[in-house]
Symmetry: C2
Subunit: 459 residues, 2 copies
């Protein structure tokens, strides 16, 4: 029996379509079948219209071969923070119930033109800000646990083989966290490298479009669609895969490493042993003192002050439809943020960006925790972004690599960090790292119902 196309990677799908061995309509049907089997259980999607999907698929099939784009036939999930011309965009908020913005967000338009089949809109927490909910969206490895947030549905949909690529966003840790909780690959590129036009902002100097996939090869393809500056002096040598035996990694725990969970400690140790066994050089590095107090401190000041600007209209005019989370976290006046605090936060974080670039460029990658632990129980709280928030505010690219498991059979992974605009090189490093990590604890993970022969991750 052939494996249905929803269990393939984007790269594999594109190849089959280009060879004439698969139609986009068949791809759509395979994905609709998976949706029908799984939506009630996983609840990744907040909107999916099968007639629209089939009609888009047929439109894609009708495009002559020479006019097809690089994503032709891949199935893409769009986080419901992003405008879509042919679907509602509700931002996880009753204020935008059934809202139809009518024009695709820039990143959506680019993928649509590149031939992606946009399957539907995935669950987000309220305005990608709240860490509550979203209701009814569970982790494919254990539906009583959160898939992480705010890009909850996108993480779950990719993990559950309901799409091959998905958009998330990250302001604190909303791409890296769900990537870890769902055991998939994720990248938060350099801030500003992908247009955020058509996304509802939370903290514009932090908000970043994130990408999910089940293989680094797919992430590379997905990222290549965007116009990221790439004229790296020695780009040819970089694009050749560097063997791990020539790689040097800086393991950085950061100031957030206080009472680490058992799963994190174990992952930290095992990941390092695996790299060393492959010949890589590992250095345990402590960041300079000035990097302390960003996560939960300066980054939070920026979140809060920019959030107040971003949600001003809703706060003033539809207050009763905002959650208590937004009220308490953003509008709580007991911790008023002065202009002095904001400018100091901006300037301090900005001054650290060239320093982290300099540090990161001395290694093939910085390796750092993605999350505190495996996905917590319950669908009420999406987990803490504390290990991600500093890197997000430093604007550096972060790639999550899965492969490890906690005692509850839930996935956990680690983050690779590089200097700003170095995501293409970082993904090449991630590819070789993934080869030794991605199957490290495969047999310990909870099972997801898939046909025989389906690969959990493709490396």
């Amino acid at each position: 029996m052939t494996i249905p196309s929803n269990f393939l990677t984007a790269t594999e799908t594109i190849k089959l379509v280009s060879q004439g061995d698969l139609t986009v309509e068949q791809i759509a049907l395979d994905h609709i079948k998976r949706y029908d089997e799984r939506q009630t259980t996983i609840g990744a999607w907040v909107y999916m219209d099968r007639e629209r999907v089939l009609s888009e698929a047929r439109r894609l099939d009708s495009i002559p071969k020479e006019k097809r784009g690089p994503l032709h036939g891949t199935v893409l999930a769009v986080k419901d923070m992003m405008n879509t011309q042919d679907m509602p965009t509700q931002h996880g908020s009753p204020i935008y119930k059934d809202s139809h913005p009518g024009v695709d967000a820039a990143c959506v338009a680019i993928c649509r033109a590149a031939g992606a089949l946009i399957f539907g809109k995935t669950h987000t927490t309220e305005f990608a800000c709240s860490s509550i909910g979203p209701k009814g969206c569970g982790n494919p490895y254990d539906i009583t646990r959160t898939p992480g947030g705010s890009s909850s549905g996108s993480g779950a949909a990719v993990r559950d083989f309901q799409c091959s690529l998905a958009f998330g966003t990250q302001t604190g840790g909303s791409t890296i966290r769900p990537a870890s909780f769902n055991g998939i690959f994720g990248i938060k590129p350099t801030w500003g490298a992908i247009s955020t036009w058509g996304l509802k902002p939370y903290a514009p100097t932090l908000d970043t479009v994130g990408l999910f996939a089940r293989s680094i090869e797919d992430l590379k393809l997905f990222l290549s669609i965007f116009d990221i500056p790439s004229n790296i002096p020695n780009s040819i040598s970089i694009l050749q895969k560097k063997p791990l035996s020539n790689c040097k990694f800086a393991y950085i725990k950061t100031d957030q490493w206080v009472k680490p969970s058992f799963e994190l400690s174990k992952t930290w140790e095992k990941s390092s042993i695996l790299l060393k066994e492959s010949g890589a050089e590992i250095i345990e590095l402590k960041l300079p003192k000035e990097f302390e107090g960003i996560s939960g401190g300066l980054a939070w000041i920026i979140n809060k002050s920019e959030g107040k600007v971003s949600f001003q209209n809703e706060f003033q005019n539809q207050n009763q439809l905002l959650s208590s989370f937004i009220h308490n976290e953003i509008y709580d006046n007991s911790e008023e943020i002065s202009k002095k605090k904001i400018t100091e936060a901006y300037d301090k974080v900005a001054s650290l960006r060239p320093i982290i670039d300099e540090i990161a460029s001395q290694y093939d990658a910085i390796i750092t925790p993605s999350v505190e632990s495996e996905a917590p129980l319950g669908l009420g709280w999406t987990g803490s972004p504390k290990f991600c928030a500093m890197w997000t505010s430093l604007h550096v690219p972060c790639v999550h690599i899965p492969g490890f498991a906690g005692d509850n059979g839930m996935p956990i992974g680690l983050t690779l960090v590089g200097p700003r605009y170095d995501e293409q090189r970082l993904l090449s490093v991630a590819e070789v790292v993934a080869q030794v990590w991605a199957r490290a604890d495969e047999d310990k993970l909870n099972k997801i119902p898939v046909p025989d022969g389906v690969r959990h991750l493709t490396v």
Copy 2:
């Protein structure tokens, strides 16, 4: 004869409405009459639907007094870079012809809820990026001259008494320049202080919502609608108008002051004499050397690299509908911008922000040129942003104060600059400065057809 309401300021209009002496419907009719008389000549508007305006006006009249907002009855023009739920949003580009985004931009929604009568959409150059055109929009003081760009229509509409308040945007000098060319007040607030959600971005780290009015009192009211951090330690003393005799100003020419025009030199000198005569202290200040090369250098690198990201979709997919301006200025590969250049530009400009804050806070305001000269002849080129670009990239608030005239009877003014988030205080300073500048050359300005008794500017 009573002066029709379109010739009043926003503040005057609000008072009459609140006293029951004027209905919003009458205000709408007055403005429609002015539109009918002037649109063919000035061409400020790219969209105005009188039935929609009248229906909105009646809706506003039907709101009970106790539920009315602070802008109730003011007529607002919206630059066609900003989404509006009930009008097309075309971004000055054929790509977005008749595009209906369906959801108000944040700043539009906030004003609509505050009771503003949104009259229509005003002309912008292509994506508020191009300095060509827009076609058919002339300067009310001389229709053979540009009203400036990219906020061309907004500047012209406020000047021509076709609305009392207007939104612009500024990435280089697109609010301050049209304010100068049209002889009105304008403010570019601190970057990030007003949400840009629902605006099409050009260079997101520079793009700022700008405001226009014919009085500083109106600008104060307009700005007060937005949730800008204002907990200034000594806010009470600041809100009391400080007499000019207690004020100290730094006159800064910047590195762009090379071969200044006759009008600029004359304005520079006269403005300073007027302030001195009022007892103010004037210091001619030269910025530290590190501030050289931002305008046209670092700021341009940021414009270009961010523009490439912002316009990627249009460039890849609707290339033939982009102007040669966007092609040449943003996509010209002869000047490829490396990631090193971008990060250096970001980090350098960021490092100067606390320094300019420190310098600016030693004075009641920095005074600096707004433009090279009066509005140039022709509607092809909207003028140079060279005197504004540095301040925009430093994120500091800028207020344009008009009042002077060139030999062609065209207005020219100067900019007041303060530290970030200091716009409320800066507007109080602007108010006293405007009192000695705003009528300095009133008799030398070309005439605009208005009834007797109408004030050009209200101070």
